[in-house]
């Protein structure tokens, strides 16, 4: 296997919730719970899961916008987590991020031009004139024309704002692009434009990409490899085709089963969704999914399943993996 570009080892992130009078936190919520992941150069890794599963926190940790409370992140062979602001600053350009809310991720008092120029001012060491030329070049690459550049975020459409965000992210010529729900705030007719643009850019620049999304169809289309998260843990990971066509973890199966496809088979079908997402403040013992799992057994409450191999690179964290559960494997 190729040397990993981004390596995540046993990363956890706990957030304090509420405080006692003594200043001690009342509860700790483990948003990310012992995650191991790696990203190879040029690869696209999809990160899927529902709200509160920790996928955005994990993306922020990869971006060094947040720090793990346990575990370590390595980038290009060197430590990436636990660095000082100064150490980080010079290397930030190598991992860049595209944000979920395209309008809010642009400073409302800056023009599109100024937004795209910012990383160039910080990293490139170019002079004013060279920066202006480079901004125009970047704008053309993301399909913005010159008259868009002098506008403020609210004068642009959501799709145009996301193009500005993409231009800003690729300005520093990063090795890794982290896209946190890059199309979920956009109109349906615009989503395909932005996805195509991202794929084009990834191809042209040979980037590795982490694609965080709750939209399974989009991830299936974009990602080479997919990791499914539930309550802070990765429950299944593998090549996208295998994860989507032959899901092994009961949660992945439930998730895929509840996506409404615009197909006649979906009509008035009863979803096989059981129960509710437990509170992240007190997740179930053992396997977090056991309270909603149709094939849970008593050991699931005691033992935390490790992510075991299904195929060569396909892994799932389920104790009943490979057992005959008498249940048809469902797929999307």
């Amino acid at each position: 296997m190729m040397e990993a570009l981004l390596q995540i080892d046993g990363v956890s992130r706990e957030f304090p919730v509420g405080r006692h009078a003594t200043g001690q936190p009342r509860h700790l919520v483990r948003a990310v719970d012992g995650v191991d992941l790696s990203l190879a150069p040029g690869e696209t890794l999809g990160l899927v899961g529902e709200s509160g599963c920790g996928k955005s926190t994990l993306a922020r940790i990869m971006m060094a916008l947040d720090h793990p409370t346990r575990g370590a992140v390595r980038f290009g062979g060197a430590p990436w987590s636990g660095l000082t602001a100064r150490e980080l600053k010079s290397r930030r350009g190598r991992i860049q991020m595209i944000f979920q809310d395209p309008v809010a991720s642009l400073n409302p008092r800056m023009t599109a031009r100024a937004c795209i120029a910012e990383p160039l001012i910080n990293f490139s060491g170019l002079n004013r004139h060279a920066i202006a030329l480079r901004v125009a070049e970047l704008a053309a690459q993301v399909g913005l024309s010159d008259h868009h550049l002098d506008r403020f975020a609210h004068e642009l459409s959501g799709g145009q704002c996301q193009r500005v965000g993409i231009a800003r992210a690729i300005a520093a010529e990063p090795d890794v692009l982290i896209a946190d729900e890059p199309v979920s705030a956009l109109d349906v007719s615009i989503q395909a434009q932005i996805l195509n643009l991202l794929l084009d850019i990834k191809q042209r620049m040979g980037l590795a990409m982490v694609f965080v999304s709750h939209d399974l169809s989009v991830v299936r289309h974009v990602a080479d490899r997919t990791a499914v998260m539930y309550l802070g843990r990765i429950v299944e990971t593998g090549p996208s085709e295998q994860v989507f066509s032959d899901p092994q973890h009961p949660y992945t199966q439930m998730l895929l089963n509840s996506v409404p496809h615009p197909l006649p088979a979906a009509r008035h079908r009863k979803p096989e969704v059981r129960g509710e997402l437990p509170s992240p403040l007190s997740p179930p013992s053992g396997c977090h999914f056991r309270t909603r799992c149709p094939i849970a057994i008593e050991t699931c409450a005691v033992e935390v399943p490790v992510c075991g191999p299904v195929g060569a690179v396909h892994r799932a964290a389920c104790l009943r993996l490979g057992e005959e559960t008498g249940r048809d494997r469902l797929n999307g």
């Binding site: 400073n107 399909g143 913005l144 004068e155 520093a172």
Partner: protein, 299 residues
């Protein structure tokens, strides 16, 4: 690219051709409203009063015991006070002090307030310490502080301004801190950090420009309350020395003769009320015009 062509085509259907800074646009719109125009004109009137008082009116300090408490005449249109001084000249000249105090307090509370507020919001441990000091400052009553300062330092305009500014600073710090804390959570700040902007550049480019609008509004209110506070302190005799004409001092002098010569109280009082009123109205207008929701709607 075919895409941009189509977009240009669609753009051509747009009606707006000129696009400007949204904040300026919103301010320009507010400046066209009649109430704003009236208030600005009145404020300019006060400014003219302050600047031109030596030319428009006589000497505010000249004492003429023979002409005490005279009714209005052609020469002295608002009459004279108990020392025979020209009330009109004193009232005109009093605008100087009120405006100076208003502007100075606005600046002296805004500048340190913004600096301390940003520090308190951006620095976790230092910030907590600063906020406890600020809380303690909030407990000091402005008038008592002014009286104490006047006793300690030389009474005068500067002492007055400092005394009024100090209790205004905590209010400004709290405002700035809360605004910065919410600005800091905005995705565009994360985005800026991601592209390597940090420290001072982050504050200057992203935090400050998005914090300044409420500060301007608060500074306007601080100016209005400072004008009243200065009048109160002058009225109590702990403000400016008696030889500097001030509306508060004039009203204090007029107190003894109020039953017989009520106009001596009414002239400075009315000017004071009018100035405070227009300052507050302008503050409200600014607050509306700088409201982000309003700005978003105006375009």
């Amino acid at each position: 690219m075919a895409l941009t062509e189509t977009e240009t085509k669609i753009q051509a259907h747009g009606t707006r051709s000129r696009r400007r800074n949204p904040t300026l646009e919103s301010l320009a719109q507010a400046a066209r409203e009649p109430w704003t125009i009236i208030c600005v004109l009145i404020l300019l009137g006060f400014l003219a009063m302050a600047v031109l008082s030596p030319m428009l009116a006589g000497d505010p300090l000249a004492i003429n015991p023979a002409y005490r408490l005279k009714p209005p005449s052609l020469e002295m249109i608002w009459g004279t006070d108990h020392l025979g001084r020209d009330v009109f000249a004193r009232a005109m000249n009093g605008a100087r002090m009120s405006l100076t105090v208003g502007v100075a307090v606005a600046l002296l509370s805004a500048i340190p307030g913004v600096a301390i507020g940003i520090f308190a919001a951006m620095n976790r441990t230092g910030g907590a310490l600063v906020m406890r000091v600020i809380d303690a400052m909030m407990a000091i009553p402005a008038v008592l502080l002014a009286i104490a300062l006047a006793a300690l330092l030389q009474p005068g305009l500067l002492t007055l301004i400092i005394a009024i500014s100090i209790p205004e600073i905590p209010r400004m710090v709290r405002l700035v801190r809360s605004v910065v804390l919410s600005v800091r959570e905005q995705p565009y700040v994360d985005a800026a950090v991601s592209v390597g902007t940090g420290g001072f550049a982050l504050v200057r480019r992203h935090i400050l420009p998005n914090t300044i609008a409420p500060v301007i509004v608060q500074a306007t209110y601080a100016a209005a309350s400072a004008i009243i506070a200065s009048a109160v302190l002058s009225f109590l005799g702990v403000g400016t020395p008696p030889d500097v004409p001030s509306w508060g001092g004039m009203m204090a002098d007029a107190r003894k003769f109020f039953q017989f010569y009520p106009m001596l109280m009414v002239y400075p009082g009315a000017l004071l009320s009018l100035l405070v009123l227009v300052t507050n109205v302008l503050g409200d207008r600014l607050s509306d015009a700088l409201d982000p929701r309003k700005i978003a709607r105006s375009i």
